[in-house]
């Protein structure tokens, strides 16, 4: 039995050389600046972030501070990564930064990388930003209030196939914040409306529907996100192709909620 696969049995892959203009900012309160790095021998079948790994490994091996950037699953689903590549959030690939491939870039290209910085996403270091404002929007009402415990059988409430698929299109949002970074106004309307759309489409989301939209829309404003002016840059930059139709839904729900007299349940939250 052959014990071990060849580490590098394949022919040496083609490589490219790139020039990286990277945003460097040691701390949130510091002034940032661009620095230029040459990175050679990048295999064409590497991913974009693997190219940054190669660059960082070179920096670390020379005792220099690597470029701080975030990523986790590297499968396009966790939403951790997010770099503005050549002016586009997540770059030119209609995917998350981690799914961007080196073969999509020309040999010898100069690539500019910047953080997803907007007013509501302060820089922590280099390409890392604080996106916790998005969590606080969800905290305002992006849930169905249920405790853990016995529940009715799900088939006792049939849901149309297409309705569930529509809800899933909305809840496919990964919370990366590209929509905010792409918006000239720094609006988080696509993010917020996706959650409102997901829960508002399903029967389980109905009891809190009006309360939810009111609170979440107000939370967006409190966090300092801009307002929506229908630029639709959010939809163009969304790696999960979430449609701006949910923003329309959210606005309709919001109007309905604010003219219907608000929350009449009183303070039901036990302490």
């Amino acid at each position: 039995m052959i014990k071990q696969e060849p580490d590098n049995g394949q022919p040496t892959p083609d490589t490219v050389s790139l020039t990286i203009r990277a945003w460097r900012q040691a701390r949130g309160e510091d002034h940032g600046h661009f620095e230029v790095y040459e990175v050679g021998n990048v295999p064409v079948d590497a991913s974009f972030l693997e190219m940054l790994d190669i660059l960082n490994e070179d920096l670390v091996s020379r005792g220099r501070d690597p470029i701080a950037f975030e990523s986790d699953c590297r499968e396009g689903i966790c939403g951790t990564c997010g770099i503005v590549v050549d002016g586009l959030p997540h770059g030119p690939g209609h995917c998350t930064t981690c799914q961007l491939q080196i073969r999509d870039f020309e040999d010898g290209a100069t690539i500019t990388i910047e953080p997803f910085a907007t007013g509501a996403f302060p820089v922590i270091k280099d390409l890392m930003v604080d996106r916790s404002a998005l969590d606080r929007i969800i905290q305002a009402g992006g849930y169905v209030t249920v405790h853990s415990g016995p529940k009715p059988d799900p088939n006792s409430i049939p849901i149309e196939h297409d309705v569930v698929e529509d809800a899933l299109d909305a809840s496919a949002c990964i919370g990366c914040g590209a929509c905010v970074a792409a918006c000239p106004n720094g609006s988080s309307s696509l993010f917020t409306s996706a959650k409102i759309g997901h829960l508002g489409l399903l029967p389980q989301g109905q009891p809190e529907r009006e309360d939810r939209v009111r609170k979440m829309v107000e939370a967006m404003d409190e966090e300092g996100f801009g307002s929506c002016r229908n630029y639709a840059e959010c939809q163009a930059s969304c790696p999960k192709e979430i449609s701006i139709k949910y923003i329309g839904r959210m606005n309709a729900d919001y109007i309905k909620a604010t003219i219907s007299g608000g929350d009449r349940r009183g303070d039901m939250h036990a302490t």
């Binding site: 039995m1 071990q4 590098n8 991913s47 690597p66 699953c73 969590d135 016995p150």
Partner: protein, 638 residues
């Protein structure tokens, strides 16, 4: 010396869980707010446990190294979640799910735990639907199902190829609600680096603020570890970049027994390794094997376009070798079969280490649209990464490290050998024996988090009423000092090796010697090689920057310190388990038909390792497994 008391309740298996609950000590709703519970990790297990405990009234403190709880790697689970609803009337039942899981795990898990998991499974679906999880529905509005490996029923519920994401968002949203209500305090970008022990009990944790580098601690009456598996010890795996074993390993070094560390699942359908630059391996969901047919050319080094290879020259090796289960054999069996055909020279691709998974026939019979609705996002993901479309040519796949069946030893209450320390989800060892079935991880995580831990934790907490410890206790300052000292040691070495290069080499040693095929000689040599890497780390690693700031190189190095020790224990465990079972394939224990050969007489036990100090070899203890309901049999999928 650790004591392994599994605390399995008496009585017939179907009554154990309910009678256990009836006799458990409870903490009343008015007293719950006086207890502080620390939860580490917010994947399916952590988020569901934290939100459930908070809703009951406990004060919950949740720690993650991510920027938000929604990033946890449960999010990447694709195919589905099992539950024995028997909606299809195809013979499913609690017993059937128990049977499949126990057989799938090659009879190396605890019957009582597995049965409880099967009993709880149906509640999970009810709970998640009530939260608004959009499971796939049929046109009549009823929930849809599909099938996974190692079973003959359709019991898997799914949301396209992103089931983990949708379930995690359900748990995340429940958690966000409790944060808003003030019952959960969330600590993001805060990595647990040690466990604080007071008088033999877990009483808190020490953590590092990853933004300013400060070392802090927090006290509580219970600590719950929901930190996932340690598969990233192999470097290349389907785990996330930051997945690590530090929390459970630090708990182990404080006295928690570590069970079956060598039981690691190698998932058969992943995008193959393409070069040394690769930072992670991407899984392609097992659900694809519902419609995809796995094959290799019958002729070695056949470089023709796969579409041009005629039917009679294709070797559908799973269908031929396992006619009953075909392409849906369990993961360990499918992975090994792929390795065997590639070792025999039949593999495809430039390395010869991949096989085809072909949708040509499914697209022909069911239509492209049906296949796209079922698997569209998986097909897209594959095209993005490889530049090839699975609609036009077969996937190329190869096995990759995916999941740890091993983990912290826990009793029936999910408590480790340290009182007050609990482990849930992948971080514990409890339910999957030597091999986990597909779509069972999500089930176990949510069973632990929503339904089991919230009902068992009270039993351990109740006696502690008004027996509180806070961080002024000297144990906290002492443990913090040890952590600071560890960081200073790592920062001050200033050699020439990078943590990444050592991690990659560690991964190769473990993959080549403690992967899909193992033998005593290689394992012994792996122990020496790991020892060398440890020396290299402590003599020659280099961390630029300071520890008082964001320092991702330092984060990696601290995790690597623990991976080096975990890797050593894995090899030691694999060496001592002188039998084959499930994922643990020892070349010296092979049946005549090439399948694994168990040794029930000597190894019907859980191996639980006790840490005995830096300079001594860990001690192996055994928890004997009793088979009251189902006698171990040869596991056949033919």
């Amino acid at each position: 010396m650790v004591e392994l008391n599994s605390k399995i309740p008496d009585g017939p298996i179907e009554d154990k869980w309910h009678s256990h609950l009836e006799h458990a000590r409870l903490v009343g709703p008015r007293n719950r707010p006086t207890y502080d519970v620390i939860v580490v990790g917010t994947g399916l297990a952590g988020a569901s446990a934290a939100s459930s405990l908070a809703a009951q009234g406990y004060n919950v403190h949740v720690f993650i190294y991510h920027d938000t709880p929604r990033r946890a790697h449960s999010i990447a689970a694709q195919g589905g979640i099992n539950a024995c609803k028997n909606y299809r009337e195809d013979g499913d039942s609690t017993y059937r799910l128990f049977y499949d899981t126990q057989k799938g795990g090659d009879f190396r898990s605890r019957e009582a735990n597995v049965y409880r998991l099967a009993q709880t499974s149906t509640q999970i679906i009810d709970q998640c639907v009530a939260q608004g999880v959009p499971f796939a529905r049929e046109y009549g509005g009823m929930l849809a199902n599909r099938s996974f490996g190692g079973v003959l029923v359709e019991r898997t519920f799914y949301c396209r190829g992103q089931t983990g994401q949708q379930l995690l968002l359900g748990a995340y949203q429940a958690l966000q609600k409790e944060i808003e209500l003030g019952k959960v305090k969330m600590y993001t970008r805060s990595e647990m680096l040690d466990l604080v022990m007071v008088d033999g009990r877990a009483r808190g944790i020490v953590y590092r603020d990853m933004v300013d580098g400060s070392i802090k601690s927090i006290a509580g009456e219970a600590v719950v570890l929901a930190t996932g598996g340690y598969g990233a010890v192999y470097f290349n795996s389907t785990n996330a970049i930051n997945s690590n074993g530090t929390a459970i390993w630090r708990a182990h070094k404080r006295g928690a027994a570590f069970a079956n560390p060598s039981f690691v699942q190698i998932h058969p359908t992943c995008i193959p390794v393409s070069g040394d630059h690769q930072s992670k391996l991407t899984l392609m969901s097992e659900s694809l094997r519902n419609d995809g047919r796995v094959w290799v050319p019958r002729t070695p080094k056949d470089t023709r376009n796969p579409a041009d290879i005629p039917e009679e020259e294709r070797y559908y090796y799973l269908e031929e070798r396992y006619p009953t289960f075909g392409n849906l054999v369990p993961r360990d069996v499918a992975s090994r079969a792929a390795k065997v055909v590639c070792d025999d020279g039949l593999g495809v691709g430039s390395t010869g280490y991949s096989v085809y998974m072909d949708f040509r026939d499914a697209i022909e019979s069911k239509g492209r649209d049906t296949i796209a609705e079922k698997y569209g996002n998986l097909f897209d993901m594959y095209s993005e990464i490889t530049g090839e479309s699975p609609y036009d040519q077969p996937f190329r796949i190869y096995p990759a490290v995916h999941y740890c069946m091993g983990g912290l030893w826990v009793d029936y209450n999910l408590q480790t050998t340290i009182p007050g320390l609990y482990a849930i989800g992948e971080a514990n060892f409890s339910d999957h024996g030597a091999n986990r079935l597909g779509a069972s991880s999500l089930m176990q995580c949510l069973a632990d988090g929503y339904f089991i831990l919230p009902q068992t934790i009270g039993d351990g907490l109740q006696p502690l009423y008004r027996d509180k410890v806070d961080t002024t206790h000297p144990a906290f300052a002492r443990t913090e000092a040890e952590v600071r000292d560890r960081i200073q040691r790592v920062m001050s070495i200033k050699g020439d090796s990078t943590p990444l290069s050592i991690h990659k080499r560690l991964g190769k040693v473990i993959w080549n010697n403690c992967g899909m095929s193992r033998n005593a000689e290689d394992l012994a040599s792996a122990l020496d090689q790991v020892d060398q890497l440890k020396k290299e780390f402590w003599e020659n690693v280099n961390i630029p920057g300071t520890d008082g700031d964001v320092n991702q190189t330092l984060e990696r190095a601290l995790r690597l310190v623990d991976f080096l020790e975990i890797g050593e224990l894995m090899c030691r465990d694999a060496l001592m388990r002188d039998e084959s079972c499930g994922c643990h394939f020892r070349e010296d224990h092979v049946a005549d038909d090439g399948e694994v050969q168990r040794n029930d007489e000597d190894f019907s036990h859980v191996a639980a390792w006790e840490w005995t100090g830096e300079d001594s070899v860990s001690e192996r203890h055994e928890e004997q497994l009793s088979y009251e309901v189902m006698q171990p049999a040869t596991r056949s999928y033919k």
